[in-house]
């Protein structure tokens, strides 16, 4: 759960929207890095086909 102080003194919907936008912005590089690393890891473990 989030730090309780974050909930003090901010209108709920404004705060939530701000948090959601910030999370979405962070999700873009996080998702790209995570997908790339997942592909690399799978390639390491899965046998290669063809060739």
């Amino acid at each position: 759960m989030t730090d309780a102080s974050f909930n003090e003194g901010r209108p709920f919907w404004g705060k939530s929207l701000l948090m959601l936008v910030m999370t979405a912005i962070m999700a873009v590089p996080f998702s790209a890095a995570s997908n790339r690393l997942t592909q690399i890891t799978l390639r390491l473990f899965q046998p290669r086909h063809g060739g």
């Binding site: 989030t2 102080s5 974050f6 701000l18 948090m19 979405a24 998702s31 997942t38 799978l42």
Partner: protein, 307 residues
């Protein structure tokens, strides 16, 4: 593997929409939506079991199409572990930046980080929501067995579901969940939450083509059972009192709400297909863990900035 599960366009789009909405609700829920107007907003906690339900449908579909069990299991586990280790690495960097030193080494700590069994005190920002990933990983590890039992229509599967139901019923009178701690993992959670996962697979293989009326009837019956439990046993209706060690009231209540989501398929699909909303849903659908895992980062940094 034989293909017993078909995911048609409507079902696929419904699951994509539900996953996107659940991602947003959980992200906003962790900054206050869940406790904004208790006990009513706490009912939105059903979005966590909804994730297990959706994972069950998607995993079963993938299991039926995968060439081997090992291949399927590898993809699922890597897909869960890599985002977690990435957020763990970020967490470590934050810790080092904050404390100018590495955290103290311990075998217990290393085991907890490796197996997704974190302690709140050991993370620089709250990462307690990763319990979901740890539970999902354990369920995924036993999922080939559960899916095989489902394909064979084995009574053992019903026995498993019955045991999960019995444990969550006992939880109302006796803290049975506390007895399931082993190697810093609580195995009560995966057992009980595997119900939602299996129900997801069952829905895909049997109920995804049900008419809305049958979904509504099922939802009504489950709601009546929930109401009977609350009134008959004088339970607190607030889901927050039933989530840590899920009780039968929480299990049945969440199943009722998930069934309502399935019953609302037509209006939900109408919303999903609005051209101006679709990219937004696609964003959250394709980045579920990437939104879910770093959720506390912006709120923690905002909190720090406001102090």
């Amino acid at each position: 593997m034989s293909n017993q599960a078909t995911l048609d366009r409507d079902s696929s789009e419904l699951l994509a929409l539900l996953r996107a909405l659940a991602t947003v609700f959980i992200a906003v829920g962790h900054v206050g939506l869940f406790w904004m107007n208790r006990p009513w907003t706490e009912f939105l906690q059903f979005t966590v079991p909804l994730f297990f339900f959706i994972s069950g449908t998607v995993s079963y579909h993938a299991f039926c199409r995968s060439p081997t069990v090992g291949n399927n299991l590898l993809k699922r586990c890597v897909g869960l572990l890599v985002p977690f280790y990435l957020i763990a690495l970020l967490s470590l960097l934050f810790y080092v930046a904050d404390n100018q030193q590495l955290p103290p080494w311990s075998w217990e700590g290393a085991w907890r980080w490796l197996t997704i069994a974190l302690l709140k005190a050991w993370t620089p920002f709250p990462l307690i929501q990763v319990w979901f990933l740890g539970v999902l990983l354990l369920i995924c590890l036993i999922s080939p067995l559960l899916f095989r039992l489902l394909q064979q229509r084995s009574p053992v599967l019903w026995l498993w579901l019955g045991v999960a139901l019995l444990l969550s019923t006992l939880q109302l009178w006796w803290p049975v969940g506390r007895q399931f701690w082993l190697a810093h993992h609580n195995f009560y959670k995966p057992i009980v939450h595997s119900r939602f996962f299996v129900v997801g697979a069952l829905w895909l293989s049997h109920a995804s083509h049900w008419p809305a009326s049958r979904h509504w009837l099922t939802a009504l019956l489950l709601t009546l059972v929930s109401a009977a439990l609350v009134m008959g046993l004088d339970l607190d209706i607030d889901f927050a009192e039933h989530t840590y060690y899920p009780s039968i009231y929480y299990v049945v209540g969440c199943l009722a709400l998930i069934t309502v989501c399935c019953a609302l398929q037509r209006p939900l699909l109408w919303i999903y297909r609005l051209p101006w909303l679709r990219p937004l849903f696609a964003f959250f659908f394709t980045r579920t863990f990437s939104v879910y895992l770093p959720t506390p980062l912006p709120s923690t940094s905002l909190s720090a900035g406001s102090k």
